[in-house]
Amino acid sequence: MNKQKDATIPTIPFNALVSRWFGRNLIRIYAVLGFTYLFIPVLYTFAFSFNDSGKSNLVWKGFTLDNWKNPCGAPEVCTALGNSIKIGLLATIFSTILGTMIAFAIGRYAFKGRSSSNLLIFLPMATPEIVLGASLLSLFLVFHINPGFWPTVIAHVMFCISFVVVTVKARIASLDPRLEQAAMDLYANEFETFRRVTLPLVAPGIAGAALLAFSLSFDDFIITNFNSGTLKTFPEFVYTSAARGIPAQANVIGSAMFILALLIVIAAQFVGRRVKVSK
């Protein structure tokens, strides 16, 4: 019967074939376009890191590797980068510790006030950055604390905590409670169970949260701009020098961060796969 059907179907016109192909692959074409949109400015930044630009990196003047060989050629860039890294690391450490503790409390225990705790975690994420930055600056001004390095660290810890809690909580929620019960059945006490079973299982979530906190802190501009005073972080440097043209060294640092982050993620994938295989 099928054969008969086939025989009666006339050859499909080319147009129909094309439109069918489009129909089937529409979503893929769309995805490729989406990724192109995402990557255009990244490629632009990368390309212009090789620009033999002199002071202002606005037009293409020729290929050079000088910027990559000497990323501190524009000294302000490296000072700003150093500040961003220092602030990012401190903010990551504090927010990961505080946030992980909160995540365990909320994710593991039923207690009075749990839902209002969830609300307190959600609120900073629902508040526009400009309000967070402005209100914190007002507080510092009331207590005559000058904006600068530590106020910026405090500000970053404040807005990173919620993201850490959410990330770690999601990991805790996905744990199989039977693993901990098994540990207890094997006479591990609560502390041992936590140290040898729970913590290793939650660790990838904590690592992910720390990475997220660092990238949020490193890339933050609005809140930082309110609380850093005369100190300049990398995003602030880029913003203030945008008017007269950003030195190509800033593009080098942006591109290097991108490559570094990709390598970290790929390495993490490999480690994850190997752990799975060895199990």
Binding site: P41, F104, F111, I121, A126, T127, P128, E129, K169, F226
Partner: protein, 286 residues
């Protein structure tokens, strides 16, 4: 007995340091901001000196003076959110269902642009769309835009920049909820003679609603308070409320107005978000 007691106390002990921190550096500043918002300048005082006079009229003045920027912030944020949803949904769908072994890799690619500072990327857009970039001359030579039309310093550029910058915030939650959908539910729908569109409308979309809600919120909230895109890609005619707050703080040193504006913005966002969550019917926030 003492063991039971520590067990009851333990969650609170875990919460204590973090919540103390959030109380001091999030709640207190907000309370302080509320106080600042009703202050007025001290007569004969220096710039930046204010006293509490419970001047609630600050709110009315601040709002009426900046109605236009408020409206623009919400319209721009809405446009950016809708555009981001339109771009991110198919993207997330393709990654979740069509990517096969490339899934994880593509997911990394979505987040990857994050690592190039967003300011560098926004400035890259400015230069790409600017007079010296390649887009404007090309469009002019084809005749799509006129000789005097520019792409930067326009509302279009600001909305495009915001859409771009918040796209990963939209894509990731969408992916997370799409990925959780059991493909068999879609097959079942097909077995029951639903065509592709019906299956999407009746099965896939409803099941992905938590992702849609989370993604739109994560895009809309920062977009409404943003001022960086408007500052870099816009012009004085495309100022958003964030630009006003920023300049009140730093250039005019008018803290009460800045505080009143911040509060109005926050209240407006919270009200919109609450109504939206009710309508969308998802209580599961985070």
């Amino acid at each position: 007995m003492s063991n039971a007691l520590t067990k009851v106390k333990l969650p609170y002990l875990l919460l204590l340091p973090g919540f103390l921190f959030l109380f001091t550096f999030f709640i207190l500043p907000i309370i302080n901001l509320a106080q600042t918002s009703t202050q007025t300048a001290i007569v004969g005082g220096d710039t930046g000196q204010y006293e509490q006079t419970l001047a609630f009229s600050n709110y009315i003045t601040a709002f009426t003076e900046n109605k236009e920027q408020f409206a623009r912030s919400f319209v721009f944020a809405l446009c950016a959110t809708v555009l981001a949803l339109a771009i991110a949904y198919p993207l997330a769908y393709a990654i979740a269902f069509k990517a096969g072994r490339l899934k994880n890799f593509l997911l990394v690619l979505v987040v990857a642009p994050f690592f190039v500072s967003f300011l560098l990327r926004t400035i890259a857009w400015k230069q790409i769309l600017g007079e010296k970039g390649f887009v404007v001359p090309t469009l002019r030579s084809i005749g799509i835009i006129g000789e005097s039309t520019t792409l930067t310093s326009t509302s279009f550029a600001v909305v495009m920049g915001m859409t771009y910058n918040f796209l990963p915030f939209m894509t990731l939650p969408l992916y997370a909820s799409l990925e959780r959908i059991d493909p068999r539910t879609m097959e079942a729908s097909g077995d029951l003679y639903a065509n592709g569109i019906t299956t999407f409308r009746k099965v896939t979309l409803p099941l992905s609603m938590p992702g849609v809600v989370a993604g739109t919120l994560l895009t809309f909230i920062p977009a409404a308070g943003d001022y960086v895109n408007a500052a870099i890609l816009g012009s004085p005619n495309t100022k958003m409320i964030g630009n006003v707050i920023e300049s009140r703080y730093f250039k005019i040193v008018d803290y009460p107005t800045a505080a009143a504006l911040s509060f109005t913005l926050m209240a407006a966002i919270l009200i919109l978000v609450t109504v939206y969550i009710r309508k969308a019917g998802t209580e599961e926030l985070v």
